[in-house]
């Protein structure tokens, strides 16, 4: 009698503790952008719903990328969820380092996510990361300065027109500069912009045989134009200005035009952070010879490394954080203008979002028309508009970025810089085994 009582109690205890043991702690690595900070704050909702806990590791972008890449490549297993970009997702997916995320329930509605975004995060027929936010690039300009000078922005500006406007709107004596562009060296900094310019001037990084094309005519034209434009009508210190520095300049009123990420629209429209609220107009990114690849594409997405032991819990979080319900939650707590942009059609169909974010339609158009598979007029063996989705690109892009900055500061001529860039890239591609 006593024996079966003991066994019953033991069994009950085991069952109860198993129920309690379902509470897991997952470690999430994410970048310290505003949308992710909001996600961190709102994650307590998910924690309460599911009883799980999250350990947050929030780092700046470069450190984060380095950290998670080291971890996933060595199988370190430190993270259950990683925030990665559309650059890493297809590469790591191909290496089978990530878990495929095709098995979410129907309520998640994969088709609500923009096709271009889904494609950017897939390879070999699987979705490797779910998008948290996406951005493209476009042109922001000061409506008031344009009106005062009697200029109007056309529906699709060209780079030549931009140069013309910049000339009229530069007043160095009053620290007003016609155009602000990225100049800081980096594969994701100045090269992001320069790559789009090269694309629209008709160029490409590699031909079908993976031979670098940096010594071709389109590169020469694009970079010469970029250097002259920035030198003549840009702010001083352009060669160390990245996104943040240009945002600081634009929101304190020093730039008449700025070609950069669509996410900037939210910042310059925020009365707490910008002195030019209400004075900003938006236009598509400028084109030159061909319309291909004039605006870029980037997405931050959540992925699960294969080494994670808590895949089910991690998947539950991913579903929650990239769902329509989450977007509504952000709108409720922080307002529609701060919802993570660029991922779901339902966001852009919502009249409340359009009302709160007047730039929404342009952003939607830019993201939908970003074609990562055909970024250039001529055929290419790679995907990616402002980057080339190969592992070697981080280093190649940064090296070329440094040389472009040297051309910008006048340390070398454009042709010298391009010649050097061509030989460095050629050597790198040979070493990596793409070419002989």
């Amino acid at each position: 009698m006593r024996t079966w009582l003991r066994w019953t109690i033991a069994a009950a205890f085991v069952i109860c503790s198993n129920a309690m043991a379902r509470a897991e702690t997952i470690t999430i690595a994410t970048v310290n952008n505003n949308d992710m900070i909001v996600m961190q704050q709102l994650a307590s909702h998910w924690e309460q719903q599911t009883g799980n806990k999250i350990n947050w590791v929030v780092l700046e972008e470069n450190v984060l990328r380095q950290r998670v890449t080291t971890d996933i490549a060595t199988g370190g297993g430190q993270f259950d969820v990683m925030t990665i970009g559309s650059y890493e997702a297809p590469i790591w997916g191909k290496q089978k380092w990530l878990l495929p995320l095709d098995d979410f329930p129907a309520s998640y509605d994969y088709n609500d996510i923009f096709k271009s975004v889904r494609d950017a995060l897939s390879s070999d027929g699987h979705l490797w990361a779910v998008p948290f936010y996406a951005e493209s690039s476009f042109l922001m300009y000061r409506k008031d300065l344009f009106a005062k000078a009697g200029l109007t922005m056309p529906a699709q500006p060209t780079w030549a027109e931009v140069e013309g406007y910049a000339k009229k709107l530069t007043d160095r004596a009053h620290q007003q500069y016609g155009v602000c562009l990225r100049g800081k060296p980096g594969w994701g900094e100045n090269m992001a912009l320069i790559d789009t310019m090269v694309n629209t001037f008709g160029g490409r990084w590699f031909n079908e045989k993976w031979q670098p094309q940096l010594d071709t005519r389109p590169w020469h034209d694009a970079v010469t134009f970029y250097v002259n434009l920035l030198r003549d009508y840009g702010p001083p210190g352009a060669s160390s200005n990245g996104f943040n520095e240009n945002l600081a300049l634009f929101s304190t009123g020093h730039c008449a035009m700025w070609v950069d990420a669509t996410v900037a629209a939210g910042f310059v429209s925020d009365p707490k952070k910008s002195q030019v609220v209400g004075k900003v107009g938006f236009a598509p990114a400028p084109i030159a010879k061909v319309p291909n690849g004039n605006h870029w594409f980037w997405a931050w997405a959540l992925a699960i490394p294969k080494s994670s032991h808590k895949a089910a819990v991690a998947k539950s979080f991913l579903q929650w954080a990239t769902s329509q319900e989450y977007i509504k939650l952000v709108a409720q707590t922080n307002g529609w203008v701060l919802v993570p942009p660029g991922t779901r059609k339902s966001t852009y169909d919502n009249p409340k979002y359009i009302a709160a974010a007047p730039f929404a339609k342009q952003v939607e158009h830019a993201i939908q028309t970003a074609d990562l598979d055909h970024p250039t007029a001529q055929p290419v063996p790679y995907t990616g508009i402002q980057y080339v989705a190969i592992p070697e690109f981080q280093a190649i892009g940064t090296t070329v970025g440094q040389l472009m900055a040297a051309a910008l500061t006048g340390q070398s001529t454009v042709d010298q810089a391009l010649k050097q860039a061509q030989s460095q890239v050629k050597a790198a591609m040979e070493q990596a085994g793409y070419t002989q």
């Binding site: 470690t27 590791v57 700046e60 380095q66 950290r67 430190q78 943040n244 600081a248 990420a261």
Partner: protein, 274 residues
């Protein structure tokens, strides 16, 4: 020693104060920025008079677990320094008072262990830490810092001990003290200021070390350098908040340094014992 009446040179005083203000100004500017809004921090002309706000500090405390980061920094720095001293003091004692023909070579070799740039050995060390199960643990960081600062500690202690007259040590040995007794009862009290300054240097180096601390920690062992990295260079304006985060990260070590500065000054006095 009777206090000396130092002559007052007005030129020297002016130069000294000018240099001081120039050196301190960037820190002052940073702390000032931490009380501004983001737009005020980057405004031109620069804002000197403004209505200070604690919003940045508030946001930081809401968003990040500052006490956890600070505690990790404190534990890692102090423990690593303590272990380093326990190993370094006997070694420099021996090399300072009983040098052999190997001493110079040993000192040089110790310094040479610091020559391999950390960036190049990240992957090997990461793999070793992973296999030992020491990723995201304070122990891994303590060990690495202890080993990194050991050569510096040995060198500094060696030079301090060279200033201490050997006669005192010898006297204690002739009086019958064993080696350990000499170290503990004679050397430590005499060389305490020198040891204190070596300890302070080691603590500062551990506190500000931003390579291993970022790569080997995730959440549990993350020190203040990771705290800074989470406020540094996000998309958007961030300098006011970063200034606040940096102030929070620097204030503990700054206060500690300032208060122990008297010890430090006495400690670095070469040949003070006459």
């Amino acid at each position: 020693m009777k206090p000396r009446d130092k002559q007052f040179h007005p030129v020297a005083a002016a130069v000294a104060w000018l240099a001081t203000l120039v050196m301190f100004f960037p820190i002052f500017w940073m702390v000032l920025a931490s009380f501004k809004t983001e737009t005020q921090a980057i405004e031109t002309p620069p804002v000197f008079i403004f209505h200070p706000t604690l919003q940045n500090y508030h946001d930081i405390f809401v968003r990040a677990d500052y006490p956890l980061f600070a505690w990790n920094s404190v534990v890692i720095s102090l423990v690593a320094t303590a272990i380093m001293l326990v190993v370094a003091v006997p070694a420099s004692f021996a090399m300072a008072f009983y040098p052999t023909k190997r001493t110079r070579g040993t000192l040089l070799w110790m310094l040479s262990t610091k020559m391999l740039p950390a960036v190049g050995v990240l992957v090997p060390i990461y793999l070793i830490a992973k296999d030992a199960g020491l990723l995201d643990s304070r122990i891994a960081l303590i060990l690495i810092y202890m080993l990194s600062n050991l050569p510096i500690g040995v060198w500094m202690l060696f030079t301090f001990f060279r200033e201490t007259p050997k006669a005192i040590i010898e006297q204690s040995r002739i009086d019958g003290a064993g080696v350990w007794d000499s170290i503990v009862h004679v050397l430590l009290p005499l060389g305490l200021p020198g040891i204190a300054s070596t300890a302070l240097l080691s603590i500062i180096l551990c506190w500000n070390e931003a390579f291993w601390s970022l790569n080997l920690s995730a959440h549990d062992a993350a020190p203040l350098t990771a705290f800074i990295a989470s406020f540094s260079a996000p998309e958007g304006l961030f300098w006011a908040k970063l200034s606040a985060a940096a102030t929070l990260a620097t204030v503990p070590i700054l206060l500690f340094g300032w208060f122990s500065q008297r010890q430090l000054v006495r400690g670095l006095t070469f040949g003070a014992v006459k």
